[in-house]
């Protein structure tokens, strides 16, 4: 394993130290660990807290700031954070208007956020939670833990962050978050896997001519293994299941988010985006907004994921609103 780290046990803390040193708009608390807006709590504003395993940077710490998250709780690499983190973060961002937890649907995240919400409620804080489950690779049935939360999380955080900044109340921000989730769908794939520092070797091994379709963001294997294919074919394998799951009527608009799993360079993301755009044009779907880059990667995994969000005017306006975080920044 070759990584730019010191000890595997110190990866998360040292990266947080780096973030703290780099971004004066953020404050980092170490025990328990969370990243929070330096100006938190913002009085009268709904607070938004997210969190999850580390190794997906910039998610979530890089999305803390004006117009997006109030705080983020990083777990160990690919491991959910613990309830004490979310509890303290929730207290730190409660400006009196309540706090929304945006949770990715992984058993660990859900259980830990659940415990935190119970504890915060006991402390008298108004907490709501929305569980994001946009990954169409997973069959959503009582026989699984349900769909995973992946790319739509980034979009929900941006859009809900803007709504909270605009002064909407907790119920409205929660309803919006559920709407983003209901209209968001994702699917991802990997070429080679990645290596969790503490594990020291790749999570799964792929043959020289294999790729893994339907992976999640924790380096876990996916729906099926296939021979490697062209960008055009890969785009099709990812977009078709999304459209099958949430069809678009002619003229409906989408935000298309092409995400690198980490090790796939931007030049390839643009090639994939180009193919996605061609497929969607055939389906009469207008791409009204896009986001292209490594915003929710899995360490250095090679591959990509595609997220589509069916936009309405309100979501579009909130997407365009000013945001000022280390990873997403416009209008400020």
């Amino acid at each position: 394993m070759k990584k730019l780290i010191n000890a595997t046990d110190d990866v998360v803390v040292e990266a947080l130290e780096g973030m703290e040193r780099a971004h004066t708009s953020l404050k980092v608390v170490y025990d328990p660990k969370y990243v929070v807006r330096a100006d938190a709590p913002v009085a009268g504003k709904v607070g938004i807290v997210s969190g999850g395993g580390s190794g997906h940077e910039p998610m979530h710490g890089g999305f803390v700031g004006m117009g997006m998250l109030d705080a983020a709780c990083p777990g160990e690499v690919f491991t959910s954070p613990t309830p004490d983190q979310m509890l303290e973060a929730t207290k730190a961002v409660d400006g009196g208007a309540g706090v929304l937890h945006i949770v990715k649907n992984y058993t660990g995240d859900v259980l830990n956020f659940e415990m935190a919400a119970e504890l915060a409620a006991a402390d008298g804080i108004d907490v709501e939670a929305v569980v994001i489950d946009d990954d169409v690779a997973v069959q959503d049935s009582s026989f699984t833990a349900g769909r995973r939360g992946v790319g739509a999380t980034v979009l929900a955080e941006k859009i809900c962050g803007a709504a909270a900044e605009a002064g909407r109340d907790l119920a409205a921000v929660k309803e919006l978050c559920e709407r983003v989730n209901a209209n968001g769908r994702s699917m991802g794939m990997a070429l080679p896997s990645c290596t969790v520092p503490a594990a020291g070797k790749p999570t799964f091994e792929l043959g020289d001519d294999e790729m893994e379709i339907g992976i999640g963001i924790h380096g876990e294997p996916g729906r099926e293994r296939r021979p490697v294919a062209s960008a055009a074919e890969v785009a099709k394998m990812l977009v078709e299941p999304i459209l099958a799951d949430l069809p678009y009527s002619e003229g409906e608009k989408a935000l298309v988010f092409v995400n690198s799993m980490g090790g796939t360079p931007l030049i390839e993301l643009y090639i994939i985006y180009n193919e996605v755009a061609k497929i969607l044009a055939e389906h009469g779907v207008e791409i009204a907004r896009n986001l292209i880059g490594p915003y929710i990667p899995s360490l250095e995994m090679q591959g990509c994921s595609i997220t589509m969000l069916k936009l309405d005017d309100e979501m579009t306006e909130l997407w365009d609103a000013t945001v000022s975080t280390p990873a997403l920044r416009w209008g400020a």
Partner: protein, 214 residues
Amino acid sequence: MADGTTVTVDDLVAWVPRFSEVIGEHADELTQLDSAIGDADHGTNMRRGCRAAVDALAAAEPVDVTGFGRAIAMKVISTVGGASGPLYGSFFLALGTTGGSAPSMDAAEPIAALKAGVEAIRSRGKAEPGDKTMLDALLPAIAAMEGSLEDGGSLADVLQAGTDAAEEGMRATLPMLARKGRASYLGERSIGHQDPGATSSWLLLRSAAETLAP
């Protein structure tokens, strides 16, 4: 000290370092199992949590079963993370609550406390037997312990029966199709791999047998 029927707080307190020790020995194997059907962190998670629990326990010096359960649970919950953290945390919390505010447990009490712990895992995680989770080691273990108890087994017999059943249950997860947790995403491909959580649960019971009725 264990006298063959009684479990004292000191016995419980001895259990945790032993559990931590065997988790340490098996950490790579647990992570290995988790890399086949999960995300390659179960061993790391458990080792981190167990070490912290050992330290917490030494600092807390609990005097009753409830205090013991609470001291560990809080530490496990705040250090393990992942799915297993809240699950094992809930286990110890419920074990302590059911064990009560006495310095020891007698006769059927220890098994009742263990059962309450397992039930807490079930209600927090909402898994069913056969879902390929730690419950597939723990539920048969509880059943076996209750059976052994009814048959008049000594505490050592009872715990050994539980350990054996847990081991068997753990092995039985191999052909199962996962329906809960991260492994469920694999569908058919989860078949043929032993569940990491069931494996750590077997170690939990094995170390209980070694320390509560040595």
